[in-house]
Symmetry: C2
Amino acid sequence: MAEKVTIATVAAYAQVSRQTVSNVLNSPHIVRDETRRRVEEAIATLGYRANQAARQMRTGRSHLLAVRIEPTRDGINGSVLDRFLHGMTFAAAAAGYRVMLYTADDDRDEIKTFDNLLASYDLDGFVLTGTDHGDVRTRWLAERDVPFVTFGRPWDAPERHSWVDVDNAAGTAQATRRLIETGHRRIAFVGWPAGSGVGDDRRDGWQRTMKAYDLDPTGLDRGAPDGIAQGADCARDLLTTPDPPTAFVCVSDSLALGALQAAGGRKAVTGFDDTPVAQAIGLTSVSQPLADAAARCIDLLIHHLDGAPTGTHQVLLQPSLVVRTTA
Amino acid sequence: MAEKVTIATVAAYAQVSRQTVSNVLNSPHIVRDETRRRVEEAIATLGYRANQAARQMRTGRSHLLAVRIEPTRDGINGSVLDRFLHGMTFAAAAAGYRVMLYTADDDRDEIKTFDNLLASYDLDGFVLTGTDHGDVRTRWLAERDVPFVTFGRPWDAPERHSWVDVDNAAGTAQATRRLIETGHRRIAFVGWPAGSGVGDDRRDGWQRTMKAYDLDPTGLDRGAPDGIAQGADCARDLLTTPDPPTAFVCVSDSLALGALQAAGGRKAVTGFDDTPVAQAIGLTSVSQPLADAAARCIDLLIHHLDGAPTGTHQVLLQPSLVVRTTA
DNA sequence: GTGCATTATTGGATCGTTCAAGTTGCAGGG
DNA sequence: CCCTGCAACTTGAACGATCCAATAATGCAC
């Protein structure tokens, strides 16, 4: 490999001082046009690229963002994070930032990792996914003025930090509406147990839509932890009631798959997340605009970093229903 | 946040020089026991963590590894990369390294990214996934003596760099053997078109096992691009032959799912990769030890970085058959 | 008590960049 | 003619760690 090209090499080549080269890169407007062009030419000729470590040491900015990669909880939802990560990496690169991964066993462990990453790598910011009620991580970061954006609303105090989220309720509402429009009247909801922000939001969308069409949702609501077997159980339970449902709006593709199996394909079913499983078996599912969400997260975070650090921003994106064969 | 803790702060607190603190961290054996303990105590008390940027500037080592994140080609295989990334991040963190992501449109673009990352971030090494015949990326890296490890064999000259791979042939062999042992004699292979390293390897495992049991594989071999519809087509085609197969060994879960649908569940089917789809629908599939593979990649790479840079190492891991309901 | 080898510690230089302060050259006002 | 003001550029110092060479402390034999 050729010997290292530093700012001094460029300066010597363009016959200016190091600082002038630095100014061309960071504050071009204070350099005379002719000088600026000469320096830019030298940079191009020598193939100079600024050394991030040296820059970081002086400025305290690493141009590194971090995001947690989870151990694919139950498998079926793994590809969601996958697509999100790709979107993040792509958007970050376009803005001159890079994405670093970290793992953590739980929230407490994650905070310890924050501390480590900030102290030894001088990370510029974090993107958190999957927030929940009373999230300790956001509090820790906010108290230390560490820039961060969450993908997922803070369910307690929505205005305290920047976030990007998908309008979950609108997703289930759309699914419910379609079922109603295709003739269904008894539409059940197979969700998670009450208490999770996302789950309750999705339940809301179904419930409100039912009421908007003068349909009574009473007795058509079930809750279970995520899983195929659980979905099947809920569906079977609902099918044995006096006036059984003809369609199931499910909070996840896992539960939807279970419901589909229990109903033997004779009932309409919709899932949520548009996972590969849904694509594979033809399950109608609500699709989140993940690449878009990731890009908006990066936008907000970099806005915090580069621009004015005042104020927070919130972005709510609309999901879309991918209609396949099950509804 | 408290004011910054540098090596000088620690030195002052422990009443030694900066160099002694540095020695405690980098060459503990040359420091007297009592001094070392005092310094370690100071480090713990003050919560000192070495600044990576400063260290990197002096040593030229960033403790950063990079891996490419792909845009989830066809969806169904997305979670494979997901699990691999998690394994990498975990193993790297244990060894004091961090994982950085990057995207690329194609191999040429990826090389440009290598160049950028090396010049501005001083990356220590790369992990490449999905190598193929005549890979230009490995050549580029090797020519510049950039440390790297591939997950996937180099199909041309297996000994030129370090790699980790899964014994694909052993996987399909195991699947084939199980089918034979459960009474099947006419076992077909639904693979990819000849020419891909991985695909041919998996085909080999099936073929060799058939012959080892004195079964004739002639006419039982099909090839198609990955996809559910393609899998169904191949299976239907095979089922219309004079002496149709009773079982299908498939090169991927996508093709297996298609075969399963075409056979109407009356034939035995095995897939490959143990994706969420396989888990969801009960498909028997060959599972790759991804966390293990990722850890071995990191091990090899760090061995290159920390230890003697001489010689290359190869690791071939054994997959396992996850038996479910379809075979 | 001196000399010598061994080990532990010290101060200074250095990596590549940016910040803060300083220099130069030139135009215009009194 | 001097001073001020401004623009364009240059110089020295600093960020926080490690490396290098020099010094101080220790142990041991004679």
